[in-house]
Amino acid sequence: MEVFFLYGFFQRAFLAGVFIAIACALLGIFLILRRDAMIGHGLAHVTFAGVALGLYLNVMPLAVALFVAVVASWIIMKLKVKAGLHGDTAIAIFSSVGFALGILLVTLSQSFNVDLFSYLFGEILAIETSEVVFSIVLAFVVVLLVVVNYHKFMYMTFDRESAKASGIKVDRLDGLLTVLTAVTVVLGMKVVGILLVSALVVIPAAAGLQVASNFKQAIVLSTFISITSIVIGLVLAFLLDLPASGSIVLLSFLAFGILFVFRRSRR
């Protein structure tokens, strides 16, 4: 195992990956239980527009994507509450419009190239030091904010009305959760790419939820599955020359599959 860590790029990928894995798993649990699992998918598509804009303007695509995703997440949330649209209509619309915009901008900037592909399919093993620092700091902030608001998020997810009646500012926390999701999606994009990032948010959390009998267990189990999928995925990608993104997502799906079968067989 030590041999991997002799390689700087592997160390970087490993470090950033673990932090992002934790952020994804934590948020994933809340999103699934709030029946908001698709928001990751929608925001990923919007993120594509952000990346395309960055490529078009020739400024840091990661930073532009972050900005665009956060703004979009805010609008989606407001639309959901105020526009009287059913369920995830706002997400469905934003997701396709984001992608359409992205395609347009990419074509205009003539950047249908390797660079774009790395955003679409992820390229964690090629992550640069500056991006590692950026990712770790942001992932750390996400995790910290979720931990600080853990009980409030749990309360409002479980029983929104009682949470509100107990004085919790649920609307403000909705906003926070949405923005944190946007940040996490952009970070996850570096690991597995735009096309697979929603899997990183949803699958480990869904796997943990299969067998958890309490909330703490769900959090611990999902985080463990998320980290393990990323670490093993990276090692496999490195050893067998496989794409890291595909390996990571398939591994987390394997964990989900095993736990799903386990839960069904326990009945």
Partner: protein, 255 residues
Amino acid sequence: MDSVAAEQKLLIEIQNVCYDYGYGDVLKDVSFPINSHDFLAIIGPNGSGKTTLLKIILGLLKPRLGEVTIMGKTVEEFADWKKIGYVPQKATHIDSLFPVSVKEVVAMGIQSSRRFPRRTRGEDICCISRALQQVGMGEYKNRRIGNLSAGQQQRVFIARALANHPKILMLDEPTTGVDAKTQEHFYDMLQRLNREKEITIVLITHEVGIINKHVEQVACLNQTLVYHGSHDEFCRSDEFKRMLADGHHLVSHHH
């Protein structure tokens, strides 16, 4: 010596409250006080505005006219919400697959009133156990909430409110669909909390005909306040007879 009644303090005052959802008034000019130590049932047929009124008191809805003051402050100013334990209508809105243990549900009550979180331990764990014992759910603390019966879930929600040492418990339709015997136990428990812990009890129900003997005051709503006073007098009132005749008893006590 002063009587118990003289020691009662005004906790909540509902003043000229009007509310509409955009299709006519649901509540019209409703005013009445809720005092400490009260055991009050807000009753009325479906659509009479009971739940709306409860939500207005809890600050979940804003009245079109009028105002509610809690312990001397308007709902907007009032901040000490842990003093008011809200027990929602049971089970109906709870996701039975939600992975949360009974202990965690009660902890939500304590933890959410804190500005900064800290781990649930020591004194919190004692507080959780005590609250669960008060509602007779002490042995269930590690069970998953979704695996309990609706009545048991209801008790856990009461424990969640009790863990914050509330002055008032507000219960929304607590005994709908619960059999007579369980109902009796349930009201006994509420009476114990009311007498021993001096917690004011406010519950709403549409089952006019079966208000339990433990209930001391009645506020009868039918968009307007049609009666407010003691339970005994209410049972002798014309209003009560009229409502029974209109079929508002809905569920019989003896089935």
